[in-house]
């Protein structure tokens, strides 16, 4: 036993001690040095699960739900649990081959990993679902069915109004400050978008613990931080779904729009845009495909012409011209004008459709006969009003009137992306005519042509002003919100009354009576309704389009504006049918049917025949039709292949879908007003 080695024990002790100190220092650094590892651990294990509440339902004025939530089923796959499964049986039910099956499995694994379930087939059709439900025990746990709520539209109508729900994209995420998350659904257009916060309700959050393979294993801290989902609230609207369906029927195979408003409240009864589409096409798994072919359609079915279509108003503007002149005091109802078939006040004569004497010997007659000379003249009288020091100021005042009437400004309807139409301001003419212009320069404004465009909604609103004798409520759809509280301020703007003129009621009576004359004995006879006095005005708006780079005059737009009953107006309607000719030809009968349906609640047999007659008539410009049909054949073929399944399910929709995928033609933007046109 060599004693001197005894000292070596100290070295061994020191070695142990040093090693342990190294371990402890490292532990100090790890456990007390930073909170970084805390976050990393939470990041590993915590998963935040959003619980989606049911979206609110939208009801029409009679309490019918015009959209609902229905359940569809997705077939989900658990890639790890596939062993020993009857793959061929599954292929048979889904009507796919083995390669397709493998491809989908691999796709699912790539997308969500091996351990998390992914969608194998979304929104199963009814037959597939039934077959699967019966047999699912054979495929479990590799496959299972998962329900998913989607929107459904029992009336297949009001697509433009309701809008659609879709997955949020990155721009929306940024805009909403990341309130939404990837994979969330939100209203992307229409009422769905406008009332998104109300309809969506409040999302619930559940914090869950997941394991190393991303499988959920339980709730975090016994659900201490979880919150419950609150269902979205329902909306009651002014819409009358029967009228809406009728309006859409009337516009079938036509380009145009119908807007019907309740004058006392500004509530919109119906708003149709032609062509339209079945809103059910934009739900479920085929949404993207359907959307893309509709986007390519030359006739633009996704475009809501009622609030975005901008048309020269034509003669329908004349009642407003009268109101301005009356309010300014430049004429009285008795004011008359001798017209012999044209207006010669300016350099070039403006044609008038009437040549008989005394057809414009007072306001009522002039309006009833739609005298171009009379309204050109009173436009000039209003603009050249001596009290206003010159044309520029006069026009400025005139424009202010128009804006107050809701022309050239956004009315503020509760739909997104409304267009404002167009009323030129003074600087526009100053620029165009180098500051030397007079009331003759834009005299066409008096008869609704020239530097002026209006949306059908604006025209319907104008009818409300006349019906109400001087005021209007901003047109809107939503009457009330379920469980409305003071914090719901969205509807406040619609409760404000907009007074636009200070003309006494007696004078309004004259304008109204003149419009009644139009229906009784004038151009508006087509809109007559038995037992109800209708006040109306037809319009035939000239318009031009650029076709193959050449500016060409197109067939006139058919306008019709009206309200009824005249004594106690309940409905104001504006109808435009693009390139359909005279106002009385198509727009008039349609407006009449709409009013009758709304006021009488039913239509007689003969009137239904009229509906069918109008419905079956196709009024589409040959060039638009040609472009719709002249499609890139390859793309069309591809699209059709994608659609085969949907078509098989909805054979009725085939026609519409076959219109295909022409490049969007900016048909309306191409049409520019001009001052060298002839007018009726």
């Amino acid at each position: 036993m060599p004693a001197f080695n005894q000292s070596r024990q100290s070295f061994i002790r020191i070695l142990f001690l040093v090693a342990f100190i190294v371990l402890i220092l490292r532990l100090l650094f790890l456990q007390l040095g930073s909170r970084k590892y805390d976050l990393l651990a939470l990041d590993n294990a915590l998963s935040k699960k959003i619980i989606y509440p049911d979206r609110g339902i939208i009801f029409d004025r009679h309490g019918k739900s015009i959209l609902e939530n229905t359940l569809t089923y997705d077939l989900m796959i658990n890639p790890t649990q596939l062993k020993g499964m009857d793959t061929l049986g599954m292929c048979k039910i889904l009507n796919i081959n083995l390669d397709g099956f493998k491809e989908r499995v691999i796709g699912a694994i790539i997308k969500n990993g091996r351990y998390r379930p992914s969608v194998f087939e979304a929104s199963l059709s009814v037959e597939t679902f039934v077959q699967l439900q019966e047999n699912i025990f054979r495929f479990e746990p590799g496959f299972f069915l998962q329900e998913r709520p989607i929107r459904s539209y029992p009336f297949k109508a009001a697509a433009h109004i309701l809008g659609y729900v879709g997955e949020v994209d990155s721009t929306i995420l940024k805009k909403t400050n990341y309130y939404y998350q990837m994979g969330d659904y939100m209203g992307l257009s229409g009422l769905e978008r406008n009332y998104e916060p109300i309809l969506m309700g409040q999302r619930g959050v559940r914090y869950q613990i997941k394991d190393n393979k991303n499988r959920i294993v339980g709730s975090y801290d016994k659900g201490l931080y979880d919150s419950v989902a609150i269902a979205g609230r329902n909306l009651n609207t002014y819409l009358d779904i029967d009228v809406q369906v009728l309006a859409e029927r009337l516009l079938k195979n036509k380009l145009g729009a119908i807007v019907a408003i309740e004058p006392q409240t500004g509530g919109i009864i119906a708003m149709a845009s032609g062509p339209t589409y079945d809103p059910n096409l934009l739900t479920g798994s085929q949404r993207k495909n359907n959307f893309s072919w509709m986007l390519r359609d030359t006739a633009r079915p996704l475009f809501n012409r009622a609030i975005k279509g901008q048309y020269p108003p034509g003669s329908t503007i004349k009642p407003m011209g009268a109101l301005i002149a009356l309010d300014e005091g430049v004429i009285t109802p008795e004011y008359g004008l001798g017209c012999s078939g044209a207006y010669y006040g300016c350099r070039r004569p403006i044609k008038c459709s009437h040549e008989t004497a005394n057809h414009a010997s007072n306001l009522r007659l002039a309006l009833a006969n739609s005298c171009n000379s009379y309204f050109s003249h009173i436009y000039r009288l209003a603009v050249d009003n001596p009290r206003l020091n010159g044309t520029v100021n006069g026009y400025f005042k005139w424009k202010q009137y128009m804006n107050a009437f809701g022309m050239g400004v956004r009315l503020g309807v509760d739909l997104p992306s409304e267009d404002r139409g167009f009323i030129a301001d003074t600087s526009f003419y100053n620029r165009l005519y180098n500051r030397s212009w007079s009331s003759c320069t834009n005299v066409f404004l008096g008869i609704g042509q020239g530097e002026m465009q209006a949306t059908p909604l604006q025209m319907a609103n104008m009818m409300c002003i006349i019906a109400n004798k001087g005021y209007y409520y901003t047109p809107h759809f939503v009457q009330s919100i379920e469980a409305e509280t003071e914090r719901d301020t969205v509807l406040n703007p619609f409760k404000k009354r907009h007074q636009v003129t200070s003309i006494p009621d007696e004078i309004y009576d004259i304008v109204q009576l003149a419009m009644q004359d139009v229906t009784e004995s004038g151009t508006g006879r087509v809109a007559k309704i038995d037992g109800i006095s209708v006040a109306s005005k037809t319009g035939t708006a000239e318009n031009y389009g650029i076709i193959y780079g050449k500016r060409e005059k197109l067939k006139d737009h058919s306008w019709f504006v009206c309200f009824a009953p005249r004594e106690n107006p309940k409905i104001a309607v504006a109808v435009i049918v693009e390139n359909a000719g005279f106002g009385a030809a198509w727009a008039g009968p349609m407006a009449g049917l709409i009013m009758e349906k709304f006021l009488k609640d039913t239509l007689s047999e003969s009137r239904w025949k009229e509906v069918e007659r109008i419905e079956s008539q196709e009024i589409i410009l040959p060039i638009v039709k040609y472009k719709r049909n002249r499609l890139d054949s390859l793309k069309r073929e591809r699209l059709r292949k994608q659609q085969i399944r949907v078509i098989a399910e909805n054979p009725l929709e085939k026609n519409q879908r076959d219109r295909g995928s022409a490049k969007i033609n900016n048909h309306f933007n191409a049409i520019k007003p001009s001052d060298e046109e002839q007018f009726i």
């Binding site: 036993m1 060599p2 080695n5 005894q6 070596r8 024990q9 070295f11 061994i12 002790r13 070695l15 142990f16 001690l17 090693a19 342990f20 190294v22 371990l23 402890i24 490292r26 532990l27 100090l28 790890l30 456990q31 007390l32 040095g33 930073s34 909170r35 970084k36 590892y37 805390d38 990393l40 651990a41 939470l42 590993n44 294990a45 915590l46 613990i209 997941k210 394991d211 190393n212 393979k213 294993v217």
Partner: protein, 445 residues
Amino acid sequence: MKNNSFEMSKGIDWTLIGVYVLLVVTGIASIFATTYRDEAIVNGFLSLNTDYSRQLLYFIICIVIGSVILLTDSKFYTATANILYVVGVVLLLLVFPFHTDIKGTQSIIRFSGFQLQPAELCKIFVNLALAKYLSTPDLNFKRVKSQLIASALVLIPAVMAILQSETGLALVYFSFFLVMYREGLPSPILVIGFSLVILIVLTLLIEQNLLAVILTLLAAGVIYELRRKIKRKRSILFFIIGIWVLSVGVQRFAIPYFFNSVLKPYQVQRIYATVGKDLEVDESKLTEQDIKKMADKKKAGNYNVKQSTIAIGSGGFWGKGLMKGTQTRYDFVPEQRTDFIFCTIGEGFGFLGSIYLLGLYLFVLFRIVNIAERQRSTFSRAYAYGVASVLFFHIFINIGMTIGIVPVIGIPLPFLSFGGTALVTFTVLLFVLIRLDADRQMILR
């Protein structure tokens, strides 16, 4: 009989046994905390389907074995040390024809549902045999021959373990050099060994040619510094030049050769990973299998260490509480019942829990050194140091690996890790020591 048992228990270090029980119970609790999955607890403990119940069973077996050891005469161990060593080596040899392939190791024999890992068990026999050899009367440990014999005793099982793909276990055997050091292995050997380690680390850290230049400059500097002494005594110069040649030879040729030809690529990669470097290998020289294996191992190794440091780091000072650790509860840390069991304590009980455990271990180590130093016989002392060295190596490497300061070497944490063979091995090592200590007045040969 009563008198007899009193005799038997005389001199037994009950404190050490108490700490041992504390450690094993901590281990079972940790295994329970990571693997318990809402089953009925009583049932879970009785069923033997759960890891914690099995570990409990191993513990009971260990208590039996420990009791038997305590009842055995100390002389039995000195008498049978050499035979047991031979038995151990034979067992190790039997592994080659009879091993079962489990999880990439070829070191396990399996018979009738029972698993045996001789490389693990052999630690006991090597320790006994080494103690026996070192306690040989008139042994001059200064002689190279004795040193070589002692080294051979230790290295034969180590080499076999390497051949059975158990590099980690093989490394454990090197801890016995600490025993030899205590028993008189000349310091220069340790100095050389230590210098070699530094040289290897430097080789890993610094680019080869640059290191060669540095070493050359260093040698030149020393020669310049000692130029007067060298004038007087030529041999110093040769000595320095010899060291220089040796160092450069090692770093420039021996280590690259060792890495390229002896170690597997993934092992080299792991070694590099610990010093924070990515290994650049010439992939053209590797087989496709090697490349894949390397990628897998790299991923697994990095993942393990990352997750275990997250687990321990997220424990903070107080810990998250028993079974509240998300990292260990939800399987983010791999092998958390076995090699990474320390994570459970680090996450669940934080810095306090870690200090508690390290404190227990340090207490055990120091206690064993104390015990060693109070032995009258060399056999007992050498054996005690063997136990301390093996435990120390296991503890330091295992905990060091979970907190990312040591390469990932798959060796268990003594008394805590799940696993029957390891628990039995450590128990036997410890209880034989306690038995020997109880008879410390005897001179054992």
